[in-house]
């Protein structure tokens, strides 16, 4: 078919012109968060990472942008589309996966859990305050001995009259030590899985920081320790009594990761491309050597393929056709692709690639976490395998 459309020049950072697939509004949101990250995150995040800190001043700024729980509706929440939420994750993670995790856990795990499974009173009490960043949430499912198999959880909830007594421990909990409310999943005496809103000042509840991380250092990671914590019945999610409760929340959060890692990968590609054009070896820039060009071409391929997959899944989610198995394939492919991009960028930067002067090794180390959390690469592989064959190979 004849066409008069003008061919645009190749943009190295948007090779396949994915930008053109976005609406003006989607671009405006993307650009705003990109500007925020460029001005308020990127110049400082290497330092935060080195010191193992997440500056809490970021929380009100992220809240004033309106990002916490942005894709949920009602309760004064913005009701943005899934694609918009994904693009925000992408731009935040272009800064650092730790900042994206802060927003993911607040919005897609904690707020989503309350929005989806909470009572009307719980929603009224927490959602507006969490959107405003006045209250921070965390989400406790994973335990020291129960990760991919959350059904093996040992945290228990026993009846105490009309109320509950919680005992157990949760691990790898983002935002745990700064959280005002923890969504804690526990097994009841009759074997059901119930969700409880554990508040930070409840006696017997502690959320110590986890140390010695080499990844997601600009992020708060905690244990949740529950010793005979008395939780009133009004803090229990009324309707849900199976693992479907927590798993539905994880599905929301890992959708954001499908987009987020494209941001990490894009930053790594951008850095490697700039570096390769300036670094002189044997009299010319390394960008002019075939070995480097192959690396850059493979990286650009992964970044663009990831962006297209993410956007496609986002459109499916907005249409209501997205299944968890789709998200599994997205997370599987995009995180692996991003990790390859980050490692390759590291090699292009040579010795400079291992310092925090450049963003590359920070993203590379962060992506090792992203590969594992919100469903490991292995579990997502089995989810895709099951969807392909009809055979369950999980156990």
């Amino acid at each position: 078919m004849a066409t008069t459309a003008k061919k645009t020049e190749i943009d190295p950072l948007d090779y396949l012109a994915v930008d053109a697939l976005l609406s003006d509004e989607e671009r405006a949101i993307r650009d705003t968060v990109r500007q925020f990250v460029t001005e308020k995150v990127k110049p400082y995040v290497g330092e935060w990472f080195e010191r193992g800190e997440l500056p809490l001043e970021l929380i009100p700024e992220l809240a004033s942008l309106g990002l916490f729980g942005m894709h949920l509706e009602g309760y004064g929440l913005p009701e943005a589309s899934s694609v918009m939420y994904g693009l925000v994750c992408q731009e935040l993670e272009a800064g650092d996966a730790g900042i994206r995790s802060l927003v993911s856990v607040q919005g897609s795990l904690s707020m989503y859990a309350i929005w989806k499974w909470g009572s009307e009173e719980q929603k009224q009490r927490w959602l507006p305050a969490m959107h405003a960043g006045e209250k921070i949430g965390c989400f406790g499912l994973t335990e020291p001995d129960a990760g991919s198999d959350p059904g093996a959880m040992r945290t228990t909830a026993k009846r105490d009259g009309s109320d509950w007594i919680l005992n157990g421990a949760k691990m790898w909990i983002t935002n745990g030590s700064i959280a005002d409310v923890a969504v804690v999943w526990a097994r009841t005496e009759d074997g059901a899985i119930n969700g409880f809103l554990v508040e930070k000042d409840m006696p017997g509840f502690e959320a110590p920081l986890m140390h010695h991380k080499m990844s997601l250092r600009a992020s708060i990671t905690s244990e949740l320790v529950l010793k005979d914590v008395h939780v009133p019945e009004e803090n229990r999610f009324p309707e849900i009594s199976t693992l479907r409760g927590p798993l539905s929340c994880l599905n929301e959060a890992r959708f954001g990761i499908v987009f987020g890692v494209v941001g990490s990968a894009r930053t790594c590609l951008e850095t490697a491309l700039d570096y390769a054009k300036e670094r002189i070896v044997f009299g010319k820039p390394i960008a002019g050597y075939q070995l480097t060009q192959q690396k850059l071409a493979e990286m650009a391929l992964e970044v663009n393929r990831g962006a297209l997959v993410a956007l496609h899944l986002g459109r499916m989610k907005d249409e209501g056709t997205l299944r968890p198995e789709h998200v599994s394939m997205g997370k599987m492919g995009n995180v692996r692709g991003a990790l390859d991009v980050a490692r390759t960028a590291r090699s292009i930067l040579g010795g400079n690639g291992i310092t925090l002067e450049y963003p590359v090794i920070r993203h590379m180390n962060n992506l090792e976490t992203v590969l594992t959390y919100e469903g490991t690469h292995e579990v997502h592989t089995l989810s895709v395998g099951k969807a392909l064959t009809g055979e369950n190979a999980f156990r």
Binding site: E25, Q35, A80
Partner: protein, 256 residues
Amino acid sequence: MKIAVCVKHVPEGTSRIDPGTKRLDRAGEGALNHFDANAVEEALRLKGDSDTEVVAVSLGPQKALDSLRKALAMGADRAVLVSDDAAAGSDLVATSRLLAAALAKEEPDLVLFGQQASDADGAVLWAAVAERLGRPVVSQAMELSVDGGTVHVKRQTEHGYDTIEAPLPAVVAVSDAINEPRYPSLKGIMGAKKKPQDVLSLADLGVDAGDAGEAGSRTTVLALGDPPARADSQKIEDDGNAAQAIVDFLAEKRLI
């Protein structure tokens, strides 16, 4: 109160002049002139929680609506774009005529400008518009407040500050140091497209095509060229005495 903020949609990245038309190439992506973001922010700060209306006004191609929407996303209430093929190529004289006509329709109490546009760097449009409207004008505003019918301005100068009062209606060009523009919020961006956005033609303004665009301009770009190489430059090779040579040079010029 009603505040009009004049904003410009400028090309993003490095500006390029089209050698054919001798005009700035506006075909690529554009963005809100960042100096104008300070003017929008100041209008929103003055508005606060009051019922003051903030109207963003621009002259430009249809794509300039993107920048007006940014102003709406930040919190402006309404946008007016003057867009007409006959207005393309307007110089400062023609631009000020069209903007003044649009502002005359709006009758704002206060007109705010950024200090300059980042593409052409004219930094005089606010003066020309004020002249056409017959209103007082204050530039380089570092602080701004409105008290009844008076605007109070702390004006930055090379030597310090002027404290100036002017009766409303008035025109004020704000310095880029006056504030830090807010980021538009998600709700602001999502709500922007629902806010009124009027596109006006020259006919709507009652301006003849002959008074706009190149026909209405008083300047003509005759030719474009690179700056000439400096003929009187002097290169000092360092043979161990370079520092002394530089000192001698500066002393000879009576600079030290």
